[in-house]
């Protein structure tokens, strides 16, 4: 059962998103982060900044490699998967930035968000959760 559940969660997070699928950048409802500008989100997910506008450190979470992650980076940064991977390999191996932590499923990303307020992730808009605050909608 555990293996089946893990398979389904991985499968769900890699399901092909539709062309117009909306993605939300989210944080825990109880966290201190109330808003995020688009520029700010782009700088954070490109590794050019590690703190929110008020100087508080932000922990970022990536979904597993797959179509949802690809669509998120395309919507936020305009970079396709190859550009994103090349960009991040430069950032990491020049010591300029560390990539977001990778959750192995949407469920794990939500769990981490709730465990550590101030953590930021992105989820398909269809994965709404009252315990999460939507900081930005990308479509």
């Amino acid at each position: 059962m555990l293996a089946l559940g893990l398979f389904l969660s991985i499968h769900a997070s890699n399901a092909l998103p539709s062309q117009d699928m909306a993605i939300h950048i989210v944080t825990a409802e109880q966290g201190h982060l109330r808003q995020l500008q688009r520029d700010e989100a782009e700088l954070l997910f490109l590794g050019r900044r590690t703190t929110a506008a008020d100087g508080t450190p932000v922990i970022l979470i990536d979904l597993p490699a797959g179509p949802i992650r690809d669509r998120f980076y395309l919507l936020l940064t305009g970079k396709n998967p190859q550009q994103t991977r090349a960009y991040w390999s430069r950032q990491v191996f020049t010591g300029r930035a560390r990539p977001p932590l990778e959750a192995h499923s949407i469920e794990q990303a939500i769990e981490w968000l709730l465990q550590t307020p101030g953590t930021v992730a992105y989820l398909p808009a269809s994965n709404g959760d009252a315990r999460l605050r939507v900081l930005m909608r990308l479509q």
Partner: protein, 401 residues
Amino acid sequence: MIRQLSLLSAIVLGSMTTPALGQQASPWQLSGFGTLGMVATSQSDIRFARIGVDRPGSETPDFGPDTVLGIQANISLSPQTSAVLQLVSRERPANGYLPHPSLAFVSYTPSPDLSIRLGRLRVPFFMHSDSLDINYALPWIRPPVEVYGLNPFSDLDGIDVLYRTRIGSTDLEFHPYAGRSAIPIYKNGRGRLDRLLGFNVSIMTDRLTLFVGHATSPLTLHWGDPDFDRLVSILPPELNRELSGGRGHASFSSAGFQWDDGSWQLTGEYARRVNRRYANSAHGWHLTVAHRVDALTPYLTLARQTEDRPIAHYDFPTTLPGQLQRHAFEQFLISRNVAQRSITVGIRWDIQRNIAIKTEYTHTKTLHDSWGSYFPRGDVLANAPIDRSINMLGLSVDVTF
């Protein structure tokens, strides 16, 4: 994408609980990159060499110029302070594949816009200097040697400052640096930049990156091969002082651009080095166009390096010994001139996330007074790679992990 190796343990099926974020947010992060690459030239009496980077190989195909393995540890010391250690193993002019610390620095970030880094850094002479060994991040098997061969120094032992700011949707980065740098030179030589000062500016938008940089330093350079030792034994001492020693001075400038709209990529760079003595002055440029079609990216590169000034001038006497000296000196100047022009067609195949296969074919023309990026096998004079048309085939597999 590069991830914590420790994450592997988190997805083991036998685990009954989901690891907490705290367990994942380790202060340590290990990652790596590598290339298995080979090149073969169409002419058996010469071999391809990246001057100052690898040892001229004797085997065909040659795995030396492009094969590399790098392991990196990132360590968070505090919210503002981190450290990076990167070990790279690749064929070097003198040390075989002995791992070499290519990064070993502490970074302090007092504000989101500002980082100060101290230790072993990459010296950022070129637009792509940061990622010279990270071939996965580059469109080619290797950056065009006509430009990137102009300056083989890669380490900076010193300090740099990265100041970034955003104006509208344009990012600006100011990057001053200072320190020293050294390289081994085939076979037993050594080059050193003792008081290196440089300043770069980068401008980045969603699609366009512009780069301009300038650096200057006193230069110490000792050639260390038997042919050079024989040469200086017959040349006048006042000329020898212009060929090798500790009183050189070098300056280096580069300007580049990259346009990438996700489908088309256009990259170009111009670089120039000016030496007072010990090495020649030269400039080079390249222009690359690439087009992504799903996982395939074919590309075309035109490149050229031109000598501006030879290492030294000398008026030899017209006597027989003087003419023999002049001939030997001219052969030396030719061997240190890597001017050439080339056209490369290649294709990159992103076969999986984090794995790219590349193959490229290069047609190179050396000049009547240059060896280009080639080295003769056996008899140096008889097989000197002057005035040649050379075809070269490269194949590589790049990974990040």
